[in-house]
Symmetry: C2
Subunit: 273 residues, 2 copies
Amino acid sequence: MKVRRSERLIDMTHYLLEHPHKLISLTFFAKRYESAKSSISEDLAIVKKTFKERGTGILETIPGAAGGVIFVPTISKEEAKEYILALSDRLSEQSRLLPGGYVYLTDLLGEPDLLRQVGRIIASKYLGQKIDAVMTVATKGVPIAQAVSYYLNAPFVIVRRDSKITEGPTVSVNYASGSSERIEKMELSKRSLKRGSRVLVVDDFMKGGGTINGMQGLIEEFEAELVGVTVFAEAKFRGERAVTDYSSLLFVEDVNTQTKTISVVPGNYFDEE
Amino acid sequence: MKVRRSERLIDMTHYLLEHPHKLISLTFFAKRYESAKSSISEDLAIVKKTFKERGTGILETIPGAAGGVIFVPTISKEEAKEYILALSDRLSEQSRLLPGGYVYLTDLLGEPDLLRQVGRIIASKYLGQKIDAVMTVATKGVPIAQAVSYYLNAPFVIVRRDSKITEGPTVSVNYASGSSERIEKMELSKRSLKRGSRVLVVDDFMKGGGTINGMQGLIEEFEAELVGVTVFAEAKFRGERAVTDYSSLLFVEDVNTQTKTISVVPGNYFDEE
């Protein structure tokens, strides 16, 4: 039974949102809705226009017999900035101050709405680039990696400090934890990453950058390629960072345990371009 | 500027999918599209019908002045079963066999498509129930918890065996790890869970159920309430399980290290109802 345009548009939108960064042929939709390719083309033009106007993303059209459409989720700089500004306020709440000048973030990293937005914002930075895997370190980086992975439609891999028997053979590297000067070990299951993979590194928090630097070392061990580094939040760090080329959504510029104040502003994600 | 129906339907679909389990008023959409409430009502009727026909979910209509619509993502038993059957085959691949009869799952738990489906399948089991939080244990349970959290629009909390300074004060319990008879400790940040919260427990893998039992103990310590337990996969277990009331998507019924075969079938999720 032929499906009406209104129903096609609804289901098409759903399908595209669930399959970002994937080429979908006109034939696929034509069969799905038992409709002519010309009608599907018209539908897609409407979807494309609406996605663009609403800032949902870009619907790329690939012409030719092997063509179709690819949905690339995006977010405008303005919307991203507005969201991160509101988040800066939440991070600056006094109640987040922990002993030692740490900032409590755990609740935020469990909020589905926040993760969706953060995933969309980070993924938007790597639009034109091929990414085969998103890498992070257990445990608190995982939600960020998964959120980004959803929008890039690329798998995520989890580096662990304590790998389990269920990981199979692993590759490990030692790294200097920047803040403590201690030498630690991190491991990644050998099966998780193919040689030559293009890897995006994400994490929840960066101070000295030692952990990120460790992940870069792992990427080298796997003969893979680093595409970029983005962290949810970075803290001010006295001394030389182990990582210089990175992007941050939030910058914890000051934590004062005496006045009990935390000052958080948007990170360098917004400096560029 | 008034927005045309076709564009409204596309953006509405997007908005509803990103805000599951949330009451959205007709007024909100009427303002967003500068359209009459009567038109919005008609739009929503089309969305409702399409979502139902395609198995996307239920669009509940709440009448009255404070009314609106709530989108509840679902999956049909048939679609879920078909998906899990295909997954059973993937889990049965010989290459997944690890020393000690363990099964390698890590790659699967990093696939965004799989996580979306698994999240949708697990969330569908708790449709009518109020859930305030999804609980899991670090590290491999996290992707499952996040996936379910997206579809239920409820935050997830991560229980840890080694809590960090960044968690703030924690509550801990000891539990007997079923397979090894060892007594271990797990902790949850005190801020993560409010008293009286209704909690859904999820995890990647269950053998003796000791870890799940530990989480049940934590829920009691928080004076919260357990709504249910669902695991991605369960293994055959000789002896008495620490948990009896649970649901599993997959059942690893046999692992033979001599013939190097793994036999996986759909779990008890499909037995009920």
